[in-house]
Subunit: 356 residues, 2 copies
């Protein structure tokens, strides 16, 4: 069966301020040594198993030009612009009806645009296995990540090791972000995976489930489908999309549907959740610092220093993140990166929109 | 007797990098809340007792335009350009012969251009008293600073409390920068003052002492004097000044001459020796931070944040100095400000002259 992909690239994200902005979110930033942006890496990663013309990017209309710039070979009609953010279920539904307009049915990989994967061969093998399982019946396959440590920032997938479908396990249930104690228990059982937000299914399967569990969204999606290619497409999309309920695919479908399977993946997945991830995505020097070119350090260790055009000199510091952008500079203790959002809040309150 | 002043403004200084540069040293920076530069404040401070046309600025020729810009009312002929730095004795000698060209004799205040004084009335009273003492015979008067704490970064003046001349004490000797133990002893005796590098004497007195203790320098100064106003002035100045030995006035004259007096001053003197001084020269906010306008802090205390045009956001830090300039930014632990010179050294080694 034809393999297609929907890459979700509508996120805004404030955790990479001051590099990430309302008009330049994380998926369009380069956070690795190779200079490629997150969305470029995401597309490149799956090209061995999905043709470029079968890759769809769902994004906010404000980011259309960024997608066009960063993915110049992608057909422009494959850039699907959400008129407004309505969480993942409407986004995936929009992708599904576009694919359905082109193919009678197809396997659909659903992938975030702002994660990194270290072992791509392993990843592609998992996707291919997931596709085979998805092709059977109405299976919905979610890619789980074999956890390395008791992370409390992710949701978990409890699977049933006794019920398998090829390499996949039947999902017992999805669970919310746990406390550290609970996360440790999860790890010990070896029956829990991190919920990565990556899915594989047939377009027909996910739409069938939408019809069942999210009938209003489904009806609106069908109206949108009928308008694709017509001169009313944009106005109908806008009307129907605004009318949809904001809903995650996990809550809207995955937690309710039958035939939910998960494949445990151990391919060096990284959601690049904060500036601290840069220590994993870029090379550390002998002082334990991750620095850009125009940086001088004196007696400074374990710092992340991401430059812009200015020379940055850091003296006598440890465990500090420094990020310079064209109009703003962040200097943040490593143990305070979760407070970066407070800077953005503060800017909003002070009406300094130009920095957000 | 006519009162004149020589303000020494040839220093280069790296301790205020990245604001201070080879082409913009500390004396031309504004480091106080009022926005005035150090040299502007120095001139303004003595205007109640010295007329502007009797104030001379000795500086490097590269800084002539800065002096002209920052002191627009000063006669340009009062800007004395040293062709090369030869320490304080030749600099003071150059000032002396220029004053001598204008007046038969005069009292000459010699002042650094990059210190701050909190209680100006007290300071002016000290200068006036010093002038009275200097007018008698050949007295050389140095202004000592009543020490607040056992500073190890300054030289000290040991005075003899038994021999007075008005408010002044006879100087017993000058001593080098002490260890902290020795500095504590000095403080306990109450017979030691900080050597501030501020002097008062008659032009005739200092030149007489130069003739005795620095005869070669004196002879060259006389040649320079004779050339003032002639078309060879510049070339003769260059030749003779290059020929002079580099010598401080302390070592060259003060430690050897007779009739050396000191007046203890307690006028809130500050040599503004590093970025840490900014906590004394500018206002702290409720978090203990000294910040400029375009700064956001979150959970940040006791920091000095001096901005340029960029927004600076500081999160979760304590006791850090942040200084943004047009092309470089410094982030330095407070206890490491003495390492800022290593940054400048590093820049020199790396041939990044544009940042020095």
């Amino acid at each position: 069966m034809k393999r297609t992909a929907l890459i979700m690239a509508g996120g805004r994200g404030e955790r990479f301020w001051p590099k990430s902005r309302k008009n330049l979110p994380k998926q369009f930033l380069s956070l690795t040594d190779d200079g490629k942006t997150m969305i470029q890496l995401t597309v490149e990663r799956i090209l061995p198993i999905v043709r470029l013309e079968d890759i769809y990017i769902a994004t906010n209309k404000n980011y259309r030009h960024l997608v066009m710039e960063q993915l110049p070979g992608l057909p422009v009609e494959n850039i699907l612009c959400e008129p407004v953010g309505r969480n993942t279920a409407p986004c995936i539904g929009l992708g599904a009806v576009h694919i359905l307009k082109k193919y009678e049915d197809a396997v659909m990989f659903v992938l975030p645009s702002d994660h990194l994967i270290k072992f791509n061969d392993v990843f592609l093998t998992v996707l291919k296995d997931a596709a085979e399982i998805a092709e059977k019946g109405e299976n919905l396959v979610t890619i789980g990540i074999t956890p390395d440590y008791p992370e409390t920032g992710y949701g978990y997938i409890k699977f049933n090791p006794g019920i398998t479908e090829g390499r996949a396990y039947k999902v017992a249930r999805f669970v919310e972000k746990p406390s550290v104690e609970v996360a440790k228990e999860y790890l010990a059982t070896e029956e829990y995976l991190w919920n990565s937000g990556m899915f594989t299914w047939k377009v027909s399967s996910i739409l069938k489930n939408m019809k069942r569990f999210m009938p209003d969204t489904y009806d609106r999606l069908m109206i949108i489908r009928d308008a694709i290619g017509s001169c009313e497409e944009e106005i109908i999309l806008e009307k129907e999309f605004y009318g949809m309920q904001s809903q995650s695919i996990d809550y809207g479908i995955m937690e309710k549907a039958d035939y939910i399977y998960t494949i445990p993946g151990a391919f060096g997945w990284d959601d690049v959740g904060s500036w601290l991830a840069i220590e994993r995505t870029k090379k550390k020097n002998d002082d334990g610092n991750v620095v850009d070119d125009n940086v001088i350090t004196v007696n400074t260790h374990e710092c992340i220093i991401q430059g812009g055009k200015k020379l940055i000199a850091v003296v006598g510091l440890e465990n500090v993140v420094v990020v310079d952008s064209d109009d703003a500079i962040l200097i943040c203790a490593k143990d305070s990166v979760s407070d970066i959002k407070k800077v953005v809040e503060n800017l909003r309150v002070c009406n300094k929109e130009e920095y957000i």
